[in-house]
Amino acid sequence: MPNSYDIAVIGGGLLGSAIAWGLGRIGQRVCVLDEGDIAKRASRANFALVWVQSKGLGMPAYTGWTMQASDTWPKLAAELLDQTGLDVCFQRNGGFHLALGEEELEQRSALLKRLHNQPGAVDYKMEILGREQVARMLPHIGPEVSGGSFCPYDGHVNSLRTFRALHTGMAKFGVDYRPEHPVSDIKYVQGEFRLASPNGEIRAGKIVLAAGNANQTLAPMVGLEAPMGPTRGQIVVTERTMPFLPHPLTTVRQTDEGTVMIGDSKEDMLDDTVLNLPISSVMADRAQRMFPLLGRLNVVRSWSGIRVMPKDGFPIYDQSETCPGAFVTCCHSGVTLASNHAFEIAPMVAAGALDKKKLGAFSATRFQKSDVRTSGYY
């Protein structure tokens, strides 16, 4: 393999892969530098929602960005199917957040109100539904379900197959995926980036940092910043069962393969090698109260993963002033935003500049202000 490229993408998760695939798609000579078999990988631990509702409180631009991604996901799914033969099973028929008891439903209504009252945010038709309305769409709900919020644009996808399709597609576009190349140092020399890794130096005219929480240490090497506030989440998965859940929820979804995924937790812990079983128990308990029939299913796996989470919860897309050609990208919702990364970010990177009108709000310069509020992720 060569050691010099037009563009090097650092990070081979869903974010880096979507951008690299998008770059390959428009004929760029690209490599993706990734870690080895064991690494903290949000892309392989995620919940696979393509999710709109409740996104953007505190940053109206994020609602529009999310809606755009949701709208262009069908195109991404179709192109991947066409190119690789892999159906990533994108489904967008609306999703729920269910409430157990009246208090939770009131909290959800209050959140919705705050979202609605935000000036400048795209209306994504999130609404509160009462128990009877929910029961018509989700026939198996338990007696404690008081209602929930629904958004017709919510959906989900098979995220592992998306990952595989992107990697298969990258290979077809001639993108060099280079695992076991964790980048330890970046130097900008005479208009060229030199990336140090234990398996040799790679050179590129441009670089995209898509290394998740590691962007925090890589970004300053090229005059950028990416303040992160990662958290740990856990997921429980059951064996395959016949389809029973027609819509995904924020905390429960049935995959196209039949397994039921149950989330989601958030802890200020960064060790993804251990499980907090009381948390698994709470998640299992809530899922079972939402759908009592779930109780009889066997749990076959569970895991914890570290979220990629910019400090305020919103994506960071930025480009370096001091090292032109260096870009930083990090976000939590790498599945939801994959279509934007492939169709929007990639062409901008290829052209050498991010579109300020579209992406200005996501610049990391926002962290230089003192009143950064954290509310991007629920």
Binding site: T241, M242, R296, L297
Partner: protein, 98 residues
């Protein structure tokens, strides 16, 4: 494939396989009783629907999955039979609530 050896003196236990009475023996696991029944007890996998029978008989391969007394996906090789047990051969994924 299998038959019982001649000197088995254990008590007979009647179980039902897809509704048909089968004479098992006290101490049999469900999988052993199914093998001894001589019936076609092949399950179908949840992934492709391929036919399978128990492979390891010691609780590790999960090819013995079977519905026992209305509960799906149980490891037949670990569960002992009891009189009147209702066994259903699973065809594909289990149903929710079963």
């Amino acid at each position: 494939m299998f038959k019982r050896f001649d000197d088995d003196t254990r008590k007979v236990v009647e179980i039902f396989v897809d509704g048909r009475p089968v004479m098992a023996r006290e101490g049999d696991t469900v999988s052993a009783a199914l093998f001894a029944s001589g019936l076609d007890v092949r399950r179908k996998t949840a992934v492709s629907g391929a036919p399978r029978l128990p492979y390891c008989m010691m609780g590790v391969c999960f090819d013995c999955l079977v519905t026992i007394d209305g509960m799906g996906n149980r490891q037949g090789c670990l569960v002992p039979v009891h009189p009147g047990m209702q066994i259903e051969i699973q065809k594909g994924k289990r149903e929710i609530g079963r």
